[in-house]
Symmetry: C2
Subunit: 221 residues, 2 copies
């Protein structure tokens, strides 16, 4: 075999190094939180030299912001692939909400929340995150509209999608310290029924808001 066939071009190696650093960053945030995440620990975890790490991401704020941006894009692509496999029809909405519910309680949500809370009292991180927050917000909204296959120009659809994402964010926080999945499942079961009505072409039908069931009282902060 000639050496050329195993030689990876520089650009591709850089991208692979970056991806390893960004994934190690999110793992580190999940495992150790914001204050336990240092650029040194991340470089070691990614198996990347300090020099290479500083070359790609000179500050902790640059590293963590890039990590959340990168992983959000990757997760969005995964959600699109998962949603492509879903059947059309009335079950689709339920399955999409389940996928989103999993995303809002998964590692990326936890890592992002670590950054959001830290940024409140860290001016450098905050300056880096505010534009990202706006972008991630728009992308999550667009993705949800797309996965649900709804038309946002119809009255009420945009607001129903927004409320769904805010509700899911609240449920994500309620799941931080203990497993809230039984309550979340029951609550989302009810929400799916309401959402189906809100997203239906004619929302004023007599069975608009069916009585709901189940779920013990419980909340985070």
């Amino acid at each position: 075999m000639p050496a050329a066939s195993t030689r990876v071009p520089q650009q591709e190696r850089s991208r692979a190094t970056q991806a390893r650093l960004l994934e190690a960053t999110v793992e580190c945030l999940v495992e150790h939180g914001w204050s336990g995440t240092t650029t040194t620990v991340v470089a070691a975890r990614a198996g990347v030299s300090r020099g290479a790490q500083l070359h790609h991401y000179p500050t902790k704020a640059a590293l963590v912001t890039a990590a959340v941006a990168h992983l959000t894009e990757r997760r969005a692509a995964e959600l699109r692939t998962e949603a492509d496999a879903l059947p059309a029809g009335p079950q689709r909405l339920d399955r999409v909400i389940d996928l989103l519910g999993a995303a809002f309680t998964g590692p990326l949500f936890v890592a992002a929340l670590e950054l959001w809370v830290a940024a409140r009292t860290d001016a450098e991180l905050r300056a880096a995150l505010v534009p990202l927050e706006a972008r991630v917000g728009r992308e999550m909204h667009r993705l949800t509209v797309e996965l649900l296959g709804v038309d946002e120009r119809r009255p009420g659809v945009r607001e129903a999608v927004q409320a769904t994402l805010d509700l899911l964010r609240g449920l994500g926080v309620a799941n931080l310290l203990s497993d809230d999945s039984p309550r979340r499942t029951a609550l989302l079961h009810t929400w799916k029924r309401q959402l189906a009505v809100l997203l239906a072409p004619n929302p004023g039908s007599p069975d608009a808001v069916p009585p709901a069931t189940g779920g013990p009282g419980r909340a985070g902060p």
Copy 2:
């Protein structure tokens, strides 16, 4: 004037010292976050000696947990007083949601969120917070039922109250880094209409879910 009339009994002084420490703790969490909150900084801020502080709250976990518990009770009492002043009738629900929306974006929410996120990766704090989370969750639920003046035995009421609190928690997180109040106001405007239907004695009426209005796309983590 005899000295006795100005002498404050020991127990009362202790209570005042505790209250000062607990309020300083929440202020400190809001201003400096979890990692910037130390028992020394809190004692100085409260104007309480290190010895007195350690006597009442021997660890940081004990101090911050007591602070959130104490302030939650005080805030609940304030919400009851504010709600007592509200008129009965259809406007009441709107005003109660406004009060809760303010609570979920206020200093106590921010302080609690600092603790919840820190507790994820801090075993001692987590052990202290998990029972408090369950208690605060139950109390917030009960308080909301009481402020709304609804009967939880009716189908759907419990779930609607839960969804409201989860939604408000999500909106609180979306407000961490930038002022989300225009979007929140529009979203809650729509939510109030839906909630009025969900809480009404006969939820299956034809105008069950009116078309919603307003609010730009935007989200936190």
